[in-house]
Symmetry: C2
Subunit: 241 residues, 2 copies
């Protein structure tokens, strides 16, 4: 019988989920520990936890090469600038369409390599025009199940706000369905925020249970209107700025 | 080349880490989803998040059979009683030496089965006399790497307080070294609390970097005394009640 691998410390991928309590933001650390350099990336680092994150990187003997943002966050100060100040070799990464500055501007379909592992860039606009989801590579030498870092496009049982910053609920619905729900059902989804203490979900689970994104689009819009109208939206559902 | 399994949703084990912000407590959900009943256990459920946890159990189609506590917690009201009130079939589990009431009183060396998966009970006293660590089974059909739910015996880069509740820093040091640090280096360690936003660590990492538990015992005692003396212990290190 095969051994059942459970988590993070697989033969090659080192993975850590990190939480910033005040803004309920998740930062993710991924590294190829099968590579001699142990190259690593941080997804959505937060300003006030940069020291914690860099200490961890150092303790684990990793070489941080990229600090990625899924989008321009209105809800927290990103840590990318501070990281570059403390580790000048690190390159910041963001999507070209976000119209933000970074060392590396990526587009839908690009692959971001760290050692022999990579993240695929998928455009998932709707919360902001420049939102992307980073998905671990497809292939037998890449992590299984796949993992997707969805930013604010998809939250656990919720999604990001679409009522400002060029947001569009129609576009978000299309993004999630075409770029995230089309991934294998066992794909692990890691959001940029969670307000209820959840840490992870799967494509299969969100297709069944996400109240914002599972209905057909018309009902979804009505649902959204209903929540906004009654002012319940913040309380009942997980929304991120 | 072999596929690298990364997390949680392995062929048989379903695993979820859940967080309660106010007390910074982690609850863990484990289920054997390879078994037709999908039997599940909750480790260290918290009173105020019982509804969230039971909703998740229901959405995932699991059958909750046990609610386990690693110890009698002084720092948060456990959710075991509330779970039994809402799901009368669930059995509460605690270590016999904790001198607490439960449906199932376990001892060092016992195995707690849920489907074909099991948790091994390891006595790890020191924070309280009745503290145990639950470790996933040893065997090719059990999760790899192994996972240990350490309660307050071992925290990420720290450990639980030993200055009350029959605590003993000598006993805690011995417990961690003989029962936790003796596990394979890649064993994933999941504590009952974290105050800095860490979610997981490994045996290898704590052996190298845990400031409370890595020194030989005499230096460890001096270290503890130093921190207590200067009243810095709460600020500088992760301690749990
Ligand atoms: Fe955001
Ligand atoms: Fe405790």
């Amino acid at each position: 019988m095969a051994a059942y691998s459970t988590v993070a410390e697989a033969p090659r991928l080192l993975f850590r989920q990190l939480f910033e309590k005040e803004s309920s933001t998740y930062t993710y650390l991924l590294a190829d520990v099968g590579h001699p350099d142990k190259p690593a990336v941080l997804v959505d680092p937060v300003d006030k936890t940069v020291d914690r994150d860099l200490t961890l990187v150092k303790e684990l003997g990793l070489k941080l090469i990229y600090a990625l943002n899924t989008h321009v966050h209105a809800d927290h100060v990103t840590g990318t600038g501070r990281i570059k100040g403390k580790m000048p070799g690190v390159k910041s990464v963001i999507c070209k369409s976000s119209i933000a500055k970074a060392d590396l501007l990526v587009e839908h379909g690009d692959n971001i390599y760290f050692g022999n592992l990579f993240l695929e860039v998928r455009a998932t606009p709707g919360h902001t025009v420049g939102c992307v989801t980073y998905v671990t590579g497809d292939g037998s030498d890449q992590p299984h199940p796949r993992m997707a870092f969805t930013g604010d496009a998809l939250l656990i049982r919720g999604c990001g706000r679409t009522d400002f910053q060029g947001g569009s609920s129609h576009q978000l619905y299309q993004s999630v369905h075409s770029q995230i729900f089309s991934l294998p059902k066992d794909t692990l989804l890691y959001p940029a925020h969670d307000y209820k203490g959840f840490t992870v979900t799967t494509v299969g689970e969100e297709i069944l249970h996400n109240p914002r994104l599972t209905k057909d689009e018309v009902s979804s819009e009505i649902f959204l209107f209903y929540f906004l109208f009654f002012g319940y939206w913040r309380k009942c559902c997980s929304f991120a700025l």
